[in-house]
Amino acid sequence: MSYDESLFPEKMPHNPERATLEGKNKFMGLWFFLGGETVLFASLFGTYLALKDSVHTGPSSDELFGLPLVFLMTVMLLTSSLTSVYAMYHMRNNDFKKMQLWLGITGLLGIGFLVCEVYEFAHYITDYGFTFRSSSFGSAFYTLVGFHGGHVTFGIIWLITLMLRNAKRGLNLYNAPKFNTFSLYWHFIDVIWVFVFTVVYLMGKVG
C-alpha cells in the first residue's frame, strides 16, 4: 500500500469501516457474498434432510450424536461472536490494542471450536466406523458439517493473517474495513452453526 495521507486522519470518523469508497464496497461486497452463501448452505441442508434417514448398515444419528460436546461447541462459537462484537466496538473507539486483544480471543475460541469438531469426527470414524462412505447419511453429514468447519478454518486463517499483517500499522481507514468485513463473516458462520446444531444435532436426537 502506498502511503496515503487521507487514510490517516487526525480524528477517526464514527464509522471508520465505511468512511472510504473502498470500505463501502468491501462492506456491500461481503453482504452480497453472504447472500450467496445462504443459498449454498440451503442446498446442503436440503440434501442432508433428504438423506439423513438413509443409514444403510451404518449407525443412525441418534446413536452417534452426543449433546454435551455439541453444546460446548455452540457456546464457544456463540461467545466468539460476542467477542468479535467487542473488537468492533473498540475499533469504533479507535482503540487498536483492545481490538487486537478481542480479535485474539475470538480466534482462540474459533480454534477451540475446531479442535472439538476434529475430535468429534475422529471419534465417529474410529469408534463407530462412521465415514463419508458409510451411507448416504454419512456423505450428507460430513459434507454439511464439514463445509461449516471449512468456513471456520478459513475464517481463522483470515483473522490470523489480518492481525499479523496489520500488527505494526495500527488502525487506519485502510484496514478498518478489513477488520469489519471479517467480523461480519464471523457472525455469519455462527448463524450457520445455529441451524447446524438445531437441524443436524438436535433434530437428529428427537427423530
Binding site: L34, A42, G46, L67, T74, L78, L82, V85
Partner: protein, 107 residues
C-alpha cells in the same frame, strides 16, 4: 473554536450511543444463550414428542439468527437497506432451493 466544541459534543454523544449499543448487544447475547439452553434442554429432557419439539427448536433458531443479523451485524441500523436487500434476496433463493429439494424428495 465553535467547531471544536461542536465536535467534542458529538464525541460524547457518539460514545454514549455506542455504549447503549453495546448494552443491547450483550442483552442479545444473553438471550441467545437462553434460547440455546432451552433448545438443548427440550431435546435432552426427552419428555416431549418430536411433533412439538421440532417446530419449537426451529422457531428458537430463527429468533437467534434474527438477533445475530439485527444486533450483532447491525442490520437494524439505518443505511442498511442494501445489505437487507442482498441477504433477503439470498434467503429467498435459499427458500426456493430448499423447497425444490423438499418437493423432489417427499412428493
Amino acid at each position: 473554536m465553535t467547531d471544536n466544541v461542536e465536535s467534542s459534543h458529538v464525541d460524547a454523544f457518539e460514545k454514549e450511543r455506542s455504549k447503549d449499543e453495546m448494552k443491547r448487544q450483550v442483552i442479545s447475547f444473553a438471550l441467545m444463550i437462553v434460547f440455546t439452553l432451552a433448545s438443548f434442554g427440550l431435546v435432552a429432557s426427552g419428555k416431549f414428542s418430536s411433533m412439538f419439539v421440532i417446530p419449537v427448536i426451529l422457531i428458537m433458531a430463527l429468533v437467534q439468527v434474527a438477533f445475530q443479523f439485527y444486533y450483532f451485524m447491525h442490520m437494524k441500523d439505518k443505511d442498511h437497506e442494501m445489505p437487507s436487500t442482498l441477504i433477503y434476496g439470498g434467503v429467498w433463493c435459499a427458500a426456493l432451493t430448499f423447497t425444490g429439494l423438499a418437493v423432489i424428495t417427499w412428493w
